[in-house]
Amino acid sequence: MRDLEFKQQEAALARNRLLAQTRNWPLMAVLVAITLLLVAAPFALGGYWMRVLTVVFIFATMAEAVNIIAGYTGYPALGNAVFFGTGAYVAAIAANELGVSLAPAIVLAGLGCVTYAVVLGLPILRLSGRYFLMATLGLMEITREVVLNLDITGGAQGQIFPSVTSDPVLANRLFYYLGFGLLLLTALATWWIQNHNIGLALRAIKFDEEAARAMGINTTVYKTAAWAVSAFFTGMGGPSTGISWPTSSQQRSTRSRPRCGCTSSTCSEERARCSVHCSAPASWSFSPSSCGPASQSSTILFLVLSSC
């Protein structure tokens, strides 16, 4: 019964989407205008607002990525931020241990997360909705515990990504455009999926997985792929913020001074602001507890987006 009601609501939402598709030229114009504004913004904005926007881009990227698995495919991956953290770690470890520079490190982060998602997805995506939800949240917890206990990840201290440039203005712009580019890329990928056979398969899976199977869709492949794509973009988001996330001790105690990757210590003592207040994001750091804010913000964003 409940599921049926839920499906009717879904259908109502789908109907609205259909209406939206038929007359969206004004919307397109507004989107293009906003895009142009955002491209030009770094030349008008101060460092603080640029970093705020960078974080917004990354969170929006993550929300968009969750949408691929949760929105299209119907698997509520609320623990998807695990890929955000995993990506940051993969990139930082690749940079510190192998001397990889930022761009390839980001790609590596994405690919690492794809691997993680495929290996985990094959068993976990067998679970139906609610159990999948709990499994992804559990996965986030277990990954954090494992990362805390490994040597290569740096335990509770986390990792510091080596400085990319010594010029703070340049660094700000670099990460700004990185985040913006990632968001555009994710939006583009989502758009492509939506207008391609893959999107059709994913939506079929969402509404009735068994019927989808009976219509010749290899559901295992498609839903794993959906999660992998989701993980890819979320994973690339991890190293692309250029921000030193507070470590667990900083999150817990307002007394200790936030340890930022930057040299100057203008960081506010406030937990939430620490991340965006560092004067130069040329290097960034990440620790096991850094996923919390990212997880919450991106999930909220996804939920808000998907319900309007």
């Binding site: 679970l127 499994a135 559990g138 206990n149 817990r252 939920l303």
Partner: protein, 291 residues
């Protein structure tokens, strides 16, 4: 058997009793309404803070504050169900209930940050260091009380469910909602009570936890993993299963720690959780839930 292992077993059972009461409320709510309450662990956190405030404010013993804390959380949860979740269920937005509890979770964390700040808090009573020793095995008094109270309170819940009229109505709704409606049960008021009881159990768990753990607004995260583990291991929605699962998990965790190391404590629990989901998804008891 060496002494260390026996001590680990004892510790595991002492811990497992607490895990049982931690998971029971969550499982009950899921069993009756199908709601995954992501705020359950944060309700535990609020329970701990209330206990802390009562302790530091008027010097009330943490165990004596249980009824007060439980009542407070019952009321909060009851209101949440009545004014938030029920309206979603009525309009058929079942999927949105998870989202709401996700939001509630964040809300509670931030309320705690505002009221109690992010500092570590603790409840240290006069007898917190007391322990008995028997055949070389340590039995800390506080933990024994926690185990005893956990089991007692869970037993009371069980009696409530099988003896009282309301309890029977709750079970009826969980077995078959449509049939319960036809029997004249007001399902939504049963929902209110169930979620209230779930909250009260979380509050009790919080009060019980306060003497043995440091209290922070973020303590819910790791706890939620334990809650999931207990509920899934016991079979989602299965109250008596949750008790057995709590003990099993407590023992497994402490014994695992004995062999691998303390820092892997939580990882062991979560590992069991994922394993159970994959290998025996119906839990120790309960129904199958793989598609």
């Amino acid at each position: 058997m060496n002494e260390g292992l026996v001590q680990a077993l004892v510790n595991g059972i002492l811990l497992g009793g607490f895990y049982a009461i931690l998971g029971v409320g969550f499982s009950l709510v899921y069993g009756v309404m199908g709601i995954i309450n992501l705020a359950h662990a944060s309700m535990v956190m609020i329970g701990s803070y209330l206990t802390f405030s009562l302790f530091s404010g008027i010097g009330l013993d943490p165990f004596l504050s249980i009824p007060l804390v439980a009542a407070a959380l019952f009321v909060i949860s009851w209101l949440v169900q009545k004014y938030l979740l029920n309206s979603l269920i009525r309009r058929g937005f079942m999927g949105m209930t998870v989202v709401s509890t996700f939001g509630l979770n964040l809300f509670l964390i931030n309320v705690a940050l505002l009221i109690w700040s992010a500092d570590y808090r603790g409840v240290v009573s006069s007898y917190s260091g007391v322990a008995f020793e028997l055949f070389g095995i340590r039995f800390p008094l506080v933990r024994i009380i926690i185990l005893a109270l956990s089991l007692l309170l869970t037993y009371v819940l069980w009696l409530f469910l099988i003896r009282t009229k309301t309890g029977k109505a709750i079970r009826a709704v969980s077995l078959n909602r449509e049939a319960a409606v036809l029997m004249g049960i007001d399902v939504y008021s049963i929902y209110n009570i169930t979620f209230g009881i779930g909250g009260a159990l979380a509050g009790m768990a919080g009060a019980l936890l306060s003497p043995i753990s440091s209290i922070t607004p973020f303590m819910g995260g790791p706890l939620l993993g334990i809650v999931f583990s207990v509920a899934v291991l016991g079979g989602l929605g299965n109250v008596s299963g949750a008790v057995i699962a709590g003990i099993v998990l407590g023992v497994a965790q402490v014994v695992g720690v004995h062999f691998i190391g303390t820092s892997w404590q939580l990882a062991i629990s979560y590992g069991i959780f994922i394993l159970v989901l994959l290998v025996r998804p119906q839990g120790l008891r309960g129904v199958k839930f793989v598609k």
